[in-house]
């Protein structure tokens, strides 16, 4: 165990140093090489030592400052405090929704499907997983979906694994549908100027098409489990008892929470028009709406306000994001991303279609191993640098978004939703999903959906 840790640490240092030396000898300035070396050490740190990622982010940022690769003013500027505050606001709103029973209420809707069949169940689970991931974050939504699936599978005495895997696949796909589904959505929106409406008009329909494709693949892949569940449903009887099992009456606090969430979503969806109407800077409304809503929540539930901020906001993750964004910004600040952009565009002979495909597939396969926020944060300054080389950026932003979200389906460690869901399955039912058990369906869905996006990016003028 100790030896493995030492080995990993030596590999991390060796790789980062080698990358820095290689960069300095291949045309990068020493400052650019240093910024790449330190940033890659942070990335390798998250890959090899996930539990220590915040320590690596702290150390990396300190090294950047001490080596004068970046100054304090720019480090703070690149830390994207606007995105962090947006996420803080959304986490407080989600804390209220959780407490008021919103998610349990949503989940109880699945149980109300009349004349339940296994195929109907797979479709309902997939649709709700995807839509819930669109509206809130994917991690919150998957916990509720897994809880519901376990209850239902217990009731019918069937193995929950195929249904949980299907729900996770749908969650990762659904998280690309709006700005809210995944931290990379808001990150891309804030850096690209794409609005919530752009996501609804362009990303959401594509997400739905990919979701239908994923459901089709899942129904085929798990046809045996579906048949077994159908037999059990016939044996156990209708789901009338199941409907009674979990129910949440829509009481006053739930209705009020729903109203707050609804108004928040409405203003977020209209943010671009309101910003134009009131002459505000781009994304001002998008970023402040969650803050206003969470402020109202903390006034309404004043005696729980501290608990929302301390328990529902994931400060560990947010601090990691903040420093990661700052380190990725250093690549831009040092000019390293401009050199990288030139080389990448040279590698594809300045062909925009090839470049879009490259960004899509790199982000998809990269996200299957790395956390997608890490990958997208690193890629954003590179994409920004493509603008100076005359490329249209919009297809590249969509490629980054869909690649980052769909790539998470390829392996069982591809996204936080996968890890959370499989962790609960193992703890609750002692079922351990193996790498290959996941990889079969994960790769099929990941490749098929990414292919759909590739074709859309190549041939749909809407995305250009």
């Amino acid at each position: 165990m100790k030896n493995t840790i030492v080995q990993k640490f030596i590999i991390l240092i060796g790789l980062s140093l080698a990358l820095g030396i290689w960069c300095s000898q291949t045309g990068f300035t020493s400052r650019q090489a240093l910024s790449i070396s330190i940033f890659s050490a942070s990335i390798f740190g998250t890959l090899f030592f996930w539990d220590f990622r915040l320590s690596f982010a702290f150390l990396g940022s300190s090294l950047l400052l001490i080596t004068k690769t970046i100054d304090l003013e720019h480090l703070i500027k690149f830390s994207s405090l606007d995105i962090i505050l947006f996420l803080v606001g959304m986490m407080i709103i989600i804390g209220l929704l959780k407490e008021s029973g919103f998610f349990a209420w949503i989940v109880s809707l699945i149980l109300r499907v009349r004349n339940l069949t296994a195929t109907k169940f797979v479709i309902a689970v997939s649709l709700i997983s995807a839509l819930l991931a669109c509206a809130v974050d994917e991690v919150t939504s998957i916990i509720f979906m897994v809880a519901a699936i376990l209850e239902i599978c217990d009731y019918f005495e069937v193995n929950p694994t195929p249904f949980i895997i299907t729900s996770v696949l749908a969650t990762n796909i659904g998280s690309s549908g709006t700005v809210l589904g995944n931290p990379i959505g808001i990150l891309i929106a804030a850096k690209s100027g794409l609005t919530f409406e752009d996501f609804i008009v362009k990303a959401f329909p594509l997400m739905l098409i990919c979701l239908l494709l994923a459901i089709f693949i899942a129904v085929l892949w798990y046809r045996k489990s579906i048949r077994e569940m159908d037999e059990k449903i016939k044996e156990v009887g209708s789901n009338e008892m199941l409907i009674k099992l979990i129910s949440v009456p829509p009481d006053r606090p739930l209705k009020l929470s729903l109203a707050i969430f609804g108004v928040t979503l409405l203003f977020i969806s209209l943010h671009h028009r309101l910003e134009l109407l009131w002459g505000l800077e781009a994304n001002t409304i998008l970023l402040i709406v969650p803050l206003i809503s969470s402020a109202c929540i903390m006034i309404w539930k004043w005696n729980k306000a501290r608990s929302y901020v301390e328990k529902d906001v994931e400060w560990w993750t947010l601090l990691f994001f903040l420093l990661l964004f700052a380190q990725a910004g250093t690549l831009k600040y040092s000019g390293a991303t401009d050199v990288l952009a030139q080389r990448l565009s040279g590698a594809v002979a300045n062909d925009p279609s090839l470049l879009t495909g490259m960004v899509l597939w790199i982000s998809a396969f990269g996200s299957s191993i790395l956390d997608n926020v890490v990958l997208v944060a690193a890629f954003i300054p590179v994409v920004q640098s493509f603008k100076d080389l005359g490329f249209a950026l919009q297809p590249l932003w969509w490629a980054l978004l869909f690649g980052g979200c769909f790539g998470g389906n390829i392996t069982l460690v591809g996204s936080t939703a996968n890890i959370v869901a499989l962790g609960i399955l193992e703890k609750e039912r002692s079922i351990k999903v193996t790498f290959l058990q996941w990889f079969g369906i994960g790769l099929s869905v990941g490749i098929a959906t990414t292919l759909v996006i590739w074709l859309a990016l190549l041939y749909l003028p809407l995305l250009k």
Binding site: K98, S100, V146, E151, D154, Y155, L245, I246, S247, I424
Partner: protein, 150 residues
Amino acid sequence: MKVKEIMTREVVNIPANASVNEALGLLLKMKISGLPVLDEHNNLIGMFTEKDILRYIFPSYLHKVGRFVYDENPKAIKKKMAQLGSLKVEQLMRREVITLDEDTTLCEVAHIMLTQKIRRIPILDKSRKVVGIVAREDVIRAFAKEANLL
């Protein structure tokens, strides 16, 4: 006042290899909510409480999902209750136990109960053997007596 003056000296305990059903029966019979768990040398190795049973039968994600209403007992809970008989106390018990020595003051005991959110604390002698147990009720009774309320 020291804790040795108010603690219960006849401590009801359970061996680590006893079945959970046996421990549950003891908790219900003695009308207490927790038992010190001892190894074969009578050393304290854990605490077994009602909370450990609830934690086992309810899903681990319960605290993450906020409000989750069960109108009736789901099959999973009945199944897990049925499994209790096949489990040993050491499989469910909490291993990190806060203990005190006999000379700890009452205020210190009350302070620890309040800050650590615990109901009862085993008291150990110098050879680390359990010589008593103090519950919240004992502390309150002692304070009330001192204030001539009882």
